[in-house]
């Protein structure tokens, strides 16, 4: 499903980072562990098609993604990869509904209101459709950002430190949501964290040194 082979990234300050080969099968849920500065975010960006590595190949569903043209890679990412960031980062000038329509349209799909309703329902924020992000609580915003990541039924759901700013209770809620969403959308879940609280909830672990 996802295959990393001999991936090396070169930083601006000329130091380079070689990553171990890594194979992820469909619908697996992985935890990416490592101290801060070990390259978690870099690796996630490489897998998400946001950062072209110096060497090596990244294949998703047998497609070597960095062989795609820039435009096709953008489209591929929009359609197949959902990304959740540490903070929600919704577009402030758009309502919740518009943020989700934007995600559908930018990926090249038609607007699908039924799907939006379904996803918002599954996250218990159906009534927030017409609200602007600034009027939502941090937790609600995080849910919307999860909705945005899964709206196009991606094959990979990537989360970068999704819980680092949350307390224990919310950490559990968010992790449960992520797992439930990736299961219901039949997506691979890939969570990068240095958060020890989450260690035990995943069977697959990939550690960076």
């Amino acid at each position: 499903m996802i295959k990393l082979q001999q991936v090396t990234h070169q930083f601006n300050n000329a130091s380079s980072l070689a990553f171990d080969d890594w194979t992820i099968r469909a619908q697996e849920q992985w935890l990416l562990l490592g101290a801060s500065g070990s390259g978690k975010t870099t690796l996630l960006h490489i897998i998400a098609g946001l950062l072209k590595p110096e060497r090596g190949t990244v294949s998703i569903n047998e497609t070597p993604i960095y062989a795609l043209s820039a435009k096709n890679l953008d489209q591929f990412r929009g359609r197949n990869i959902g990304v959740i960031f540490q903070r929600p980062h919704l577009i402030k000038s758009l309502t919740v509904l518009e943020n989700l329509i934007l995600a559908q349209r930018l990926a090249g799909f038609n607007k699908d209101h039924k799907r939006i309703k379904q996803v918002l329902d599954s996250l218990n924020i159906a009534e927030k459709e017409g609200v602007y992000p600034s009027d939502l609580s941090q937790g609600q915003q995080q849910r919307v950002s999860i909705a945005r990541a899964v709206i196009n039924r991606p094959i990979i759901l990537i989360a970068d430190e999704p819980t680092s700013s949350l307390d224990d209770q919310h950490t559990h809620i968010v992790m449960d949501l992520l797992k439930a969403q990736s299961e219901s959308n039949k997506a691979v879940l890939l969570v990068a964290t240095h958060d020890k609280r989450m260690k035990d909830s995943f069977t697959h672990r990939h550690e960076l040194t």
Binding site: T41, H45, D74, Q86, E98
Partner: protein, 396 residues
């Protein structure tokens, strides 16, 4: 959720700075609209009124004054000339048509013009009601005069001495409205026409008391000349100057001179308007450039969601162009309203400016507005295009 809508939403999300930029563009475009509309209307009116008139002959004085008083009826005449002296030149073979004018009286500020049927032919006048003047003290009035003074065929009124004011009224003879002219959209809409003898007789009564001999030398104010051949353009004025004591003035030359005098002021205003537009462009640029820092994360997220570089470029460039386009449209509308408003406060009715008037140059104004928006947003748009998403997302 097209790029257009995203740009529009982004404009709406910062209403104050967007409104300021739109107003700046609108202000510049508005001034330019007023200048364009006013100058094109003035030129059109000048040309429309002097159509077919090649030369004006009158008393010595300022040639510009001669043109203003006998073609546009806005200044005072330079004085009177003797009919006998004028007769010396107006029968020359180069002259196709000579229209004598006797000015001197008014009715509520409207000039009463003593003339003959050549005037009717020169302006190709037609009556809409009644007929042309035939006997003494019969008048045919312009369409606007009938409308504004509520005069109709058969009415009587008294003229007043002078070109303005109604203190010294000629009570001896009343004018009788014989007809009303069709609307011509030139100065004739605002005139009262009669024969020259009426003007003479109106003043003869007084002259009998003061000066019995005056009747001998009949006077008129000016003669409008239409040439038969182009050769006359150079030679006829020279002939008049040599053989008589009269003054000649060419409407074309004097209009050009008048415009070169006003032109300096117009140019200054035009540069001023351009400067405002330039400031507007800089303001749009600064705004987009600054907001790009805040929005860089938004734009990076859009890239994550599948937007191409080109799409981000379009989103930013459209934001600038929408602001300047809205501003240009608003400015043009404001310009029209302003000009109509100026027109309401103008006292001389036949030089009135109108806001209900569209010229092709306004299309260029809209195009100019779009171009300003494009220029102001090209650098921010290129930056959005070149955004390194991974770096922005990693900064967090």
């Amino acid at each position: 959720m097209s790029p257009l809508k995203i740009s529009w939403k982004s404009i709406l999300s910062k209403p104050l700075s967007s409104a300021l930029n739109i107003l700046l563009v609108a202000f510049g475009a508005g001034i330019l609209t007023v200048l364009l509309l006013a100058s094109s209307q003035v030129i059109e009116k000048l040309n429309n009124n002097s159509k077919g008139i090649d030369l004006v002959i009158g008393a010595k004085g300022s040639p510009l004054q001669l043109i203003l008083s006998s073609i546009y009826y806005i200044d005072f005449p330079t004085g009177n000339i003797s009919l006998a002296e004028a007769e010396k030149v107006i029968h020359h073979p180069w002259v196709k048509r000579a229209v004598p004018l006797a000015l001197g009286d008014n009715y509520h500020g409207i000039r009463i013009v003593g003339t003959d049927t050549n005037f009717v032919k020169l302006y190709a006048l037609k009556v809409s009601k009644g007929r042309f003047w035939e006997r003494d003290f019969e008048v045919t009035i312009g369409s606007k005069v009938a409308e504004e003074q509520q005069l109709s065929v058969g009415d009587h009124f008294y003229g007043a001495h002078g070109l303005t004011g109604s203190k010294d009224i000629h009570k001896d003879h009343a004018y009788h409205v014989a007809g009303i002219l069709e609307q011509q959209n030139n100065v004739t809409d605002h005139l009262i026409l009669t024969n020259i003898a009426s003007v003479w007789r109106m003043h003869d009564h007084k002259d009998e008391i003061h000066d019995q001999h005056h009747q001998e030398e009949k006077e008129i104010t000016t003669v409008l000349i239409q040439y038969r051949s182009p050769m006359a353009v150079v030679l006829f004025p020279r002939l008049v100057n040599q053989s008589t004591n009269l003054q000649t003035a060419s409407p074309a030359a004097e209009s050009t001179r008048l415009f070169s005098l006003i032109g300096v002021g117009l140019d200054t205003l035009q540069w001023f308007a351009m400067l405002i537009m330039l400031i507007a462009a800089i303001s749009v640029f600064v705004n987009l450039y600054n907001s790009l820092k805040e929005r860089s994360y938004d734009l990076a997220i859009m890239r994550v969601l599948g937007a191409s570089r080109m799409k981000l470029f379009l989103i930013v460039i459209m934001e600038g162009m929408m602001i300047s386009f809205t501003g240009a449209l608003l400015g043009i509308a404001l310009g029209h309203v302003l000009l109509e408003w100026i027109g309401l406060y103008q006292d001389s009715s036949h030089t009135k400016l109108s806001g209900f008037f569209i010229i092709p140059e306004e299309g260029w104004l809209i195009f100019g507005g779009l171009a300003i928006g494009f220029c102001a947003s090209i650098i921010p748009a290129l930056q959005a295009y070149k955004t390194n998403i991974s770096m922005i997302l990693a900064k967090n």
